[in-house]
Amino acid sequence: MTRVSKAELDEAARSWNGPYRPYDLVKEFVVALSVVAAIVIVAAALFSSPDDAPVTIAQWARQAPVDFVTTAVAELDGSSQVATYGPPYNHNGTAQHTLFIRPEKWLGVSHPVNTSQDYVIAPLATIPNDPAVQAAVSTWSGATSDQQTKWTDGYTKGIGTGNTLPAKLPPGDYGPVPTMMTALLNLAQSGGLDGALLTSRQFFQTDYTKPLLFMSDSTAMYFAGLGQAQHLLGTQWGMMNETGSYPGQVWLWLYTFWYQVKPIGSSANADLIVFEIMAVLSLLFICIPLLPGVRSIPRWVPLYKLIWRNHYRELRSSSGPP
């Protein structure tokens, strides 16, 4: 085969002056639609679709009360993951960055979450006819932050890490924290906290930011434990997976792959790094026709000879021996 330039190859591909044959595109479309509809309906009938019921705060508070209370205490004293997240929830954490690129910081706090106020103080304020709880909240609000931290540290140690809350706390100075947490746990177990976190702005709600952030903050990994059981953790390539044995978002394989590469996945800026890698690769994917080398691989690895074998056979037989 004589050496040809890319320009000549491109020119050769611009149009076709050779033979045509009749082809019914509309019939092809109808057949394709019928085949696809049949496959999809049969698959739906055979396998159905997963629908694991959503977790509620009430359920969390009932099934793992120690975890719930420990998390609520962390929200109260501002030591939880959400409390120290940074933008877009608050200013208390370091935004992810690579070199000078700090988009999280640039876009700022757009969905403010004040964890002690939103998850503890405000819901407790909705409890009617309980002067002891309101007094405990006033005592908390009037204390210094050092005092508050001493109370919460002591309380967290006092309740331990078992499955149930101790009937009696060991001797110590816990301030108003036990009263507040007991009231909050009761509110949560009754279902009132699910509603309180949603209706804090207005009657109609479609924004689940606060309850979802609270559940994902679970210090003893209640929520994460549910995900792990379904192989949905990041370390389990979970981005691709679905609950049960269903196929998931298989097309996310390359996105989750980078998190498994140790220097990237273990970095504090892992999410931003992975996004930047995928943004560059996506741009390159769009621009494949312009990329030297990549655009020539189909010519070097001649899979096309299989695809167009009929055409090349006809060419050979029409050129024939002289």
Partner: protein, 66 residues
């Protein structure tokens, strides 16, 4: 850990899964690579279908439509 599978009505069961996939996934491990069996099946079938699409002869002989 039971976090509340929804109780299904009879019609849901009838219109639902003949093959129940609502059990913990089988996972294939290979070095640091892990994938659920369902996803692996999808990928393997894609490769097989691609190879078949190229290898299998396509009916022509002047007929219209596939």
């Amino acid at each position: 850990m039971a976090w509340g599978h929804r109780r299904l009505s009879v019609e849901t069961v009838l219109l639902g899964a003949i093959i129940n996939l609502n059990h913990p996934a089988h996972v294939v491990h290979w070095h640091f690579f892990q994938m659920s069996l369902a996803n692996l099946v999808v990928i393997v079938v894609m490769i097989v279908v691609f190879a078949a699409a190229i290898a299998l002869p396509f009916p022509t002989h002047g007929r219209g439509g596939s």
